[in-house]
Symmetry: C2
Subunit: 109 residues, 2 copies
């Protein structure tokens, strides 16, 4: 594809976080904000404790069905969780507010 | 869990669409809006044509890495795709603007 981030700028390109990592962090912070344990939420979601733990740590991709179950156990709609994940990822991808020196235009003599 | 949607109202509960189905539809509409073929986008994303086709039809869960590749091939950030999916899912989950008759309070004699 032609519209890739220019090669010589790649060192400034923000590293896009993996979806499963961001998703896991949002799910974990939701659970902790409710003061609930992995054991409680995994029981409510009918997933194994080990699986939920791996999803929260971004080590396993959650299937659509199991993600739905986890969200129901946390009593939040999946669309809300996706919005949170989207917001977090867009912040990482946002334009930096300072310009590195070697990106500034070089004055021609 | 205690805060489930009440059993006797379940026939009015909107069916929550599966994430992979919504995601597939957003990816497909993006590709079509760019006038590109499955072949072109799968080549750019370095995924097989069959795999991309299955993801678009919501028949396969895309891993975080492959989803990232597909988004790069479509030149849209993943967070934007997630926002779209979230918006679509929240519309389906929104409160209906009419109240079914048997949900209206029954006047006591």
């Amino acid at each position: 594809m032609e519209n890739k981030y220019p090669e010589h700028l790649s060192k400034y390109a923000p590293v896009t976080p993996l979806l499963r990592v961001e998703l896991g962090e949002v799910l974990r912070s939701l659970r902790l904000s409710q003061g609930r344990t992995l054991r409680e939420v995994s029981a409510d979601a009918q997933v194994s404790l080990g699986y939920l733990s791996e999803v929260e740590r971004g080590q396993k991709e959650a299937s659509s069905e199991l993600l739905q179950s986890i969200c129901e156990a946390l009593a939040v709609p999946l669309w809300w969780v996706l919005r949170e994940v989207s917001d977090r990822m867009s912040l990482v991808n946002s334009v930096p507010d300072t310009v590195p020196d070697d990106l500034l235009p070089v004055p021609t003599a």
